[in-house]
């Protein structure tokens, strides 16, 4: 079973870094990249994603606002907010949206942990 992963980060390098980790973890997944919230929303309108990885600090709308929008359309999609800015308020907002907070720089271990949980969620949602 292959899944479709949405990667949103204004930094191309950060997106490349996630792509590198994904090639090691789940090479058969489809990866779709967006550089900002608007691009991500346009893409998510066309086709549903199974999992979304969102950078927090981006020009325009930030990752938490984007997570809120995605959540309205896709109530069960596993979403991760990725940031080095782990202030209590930001972590709390991520939790309130039902997103997982992952520290940046994102390690392969942290990403793997999130995706394993995400796969369980997707599995039970489809059942």
């Amino acid at each position: 079973m292959t899944y479709k992963l949405l990667i949103v980060d204004d930094s191309k390098l950060a997106r490349m870094s996630v792509a590198k980790a994904m090639k090691a973890l789940y090479p058969d997944w489809t990866r779709v990249e967006a550089a900002n919230a608007d691009e991500a929303l346009a893409l998510s309108g066309d086709a549903a994603f199974d999992v979304a990885l969102l950078d927090f600090n981006m020009p325009g709308r930030d990752g938490l606002e984007l997570a809120g929008d995605l959540r309205k359309k896709h109530p069960k999609m596993p979403i991760a907010i990725i940031s080095a800015n782990h202030q209590d308020e930001i972590v709390a907002r991520a939790t309130a949206i039902g997103a997982t907070f992952l520290p940046k720089p994102l390690t392969e271990t942290a990403l793997s942990g999130f995706l394993v949980t995400a796969l369980t969620q997707i599995g039970s949602a489809k059942r």
């Binding site: 191309k12 390098l13 490349m16 870094s17 590198k20 600090n57 800015n85 202030q87 209590d88 940046k104």
Partner: protein, 210 residues
């Protein structure tokens, strides 16, 4: 004076540097949040290679009033200066936020210098340490020094850059929720450091995405 054009960062190097600054400042904001007990909002950092006069103009057009800066020199494979800059009118408010807000004004004024130096030290160190760690290098930081003046004062500190008048200017604004506090973080490097930095960025890009 050199007339050669500066080795500008390519798109991916600039992206990598912005991402490093973003990481460093995000960590710094987390630390500042602990100090002031309120959420700290950050802008997305802007990284520009500009002349010193342009750096002065950028800051001067945003902030016309008197400014306070906490200044630290960093040395290592790359060297330069890091500055945390506030409008002077906001600095007492920052001290008030950090000390808890119950102190009388005269005590706050007395504590101002020390509190500013400490805040600058925490912010600039967490920012630079993150960047240094990500680049696999160590940087030696000087003790913080509190300066008063304007954009021209802060970007013309002695000694002047050894080679060329091009500096790297990174700026980001931060604002503390429920408090009228905002400021800038700027880093200045001269040409030799910039050249060294491009090599470190290439190594970082290779490790991260290669």
């Amino acid at each position: 004076m050199t007339t050669t054009a500066p080795p500008l960062l390519n798109e991916l190097q600039l992206d990598a540097l912005t991402e490093l600054v973003n990481l460093g400042v995000s960590r710094a904001a987390t630390n500042l949040r602990e100090m002031v007990g309120a959420q700290v909002h950050l802008s997305v950092p802007t990284v520009e290679l500009v002349t010193r006069s342009r750096a002065i103009a950028i800051l001067a057009e945003r902030e016309s009033n008197n400014l306070v800066a906490v200044h630290q020199v960093f040395e290592g494979d790359i060297g330069g200066r890091a500055l945390l800059i506030f409008p002077e009118t906001k600095s007492l408010e920052l001290v008030r936020a950090i000390t808890g807000g119950d102190l009388p004004l005269e005590d706050i004024i007395e504590l101002e210098q020390e509190a500013l130096a400490e805040t600058g030290n925490v912010l600039l160190n967490s920012c630079l340490a993150t960047i240094a760690n990500m680049l696999h290098r160590s940087l030696k930081m000087s003790l913080p020094e509190v300066l008063r003046g304007n954009a021209a004062t802060f970007f013309s500190l002695e000694p002047p850059p050894e080679a060329g008048d091009i500096v790297m200017f990174l700026y980001i604004t931060f604002a503390v929720r429920e408090r009228d506090i905002s400021g800038y973080i700027a880093m200045i490097m001269d040409m030799p450091s910039l050249t060294a930095l491009t090599h470190l960025l290439d190594e970082f890009i290779e490790r991260t995405a290669g």
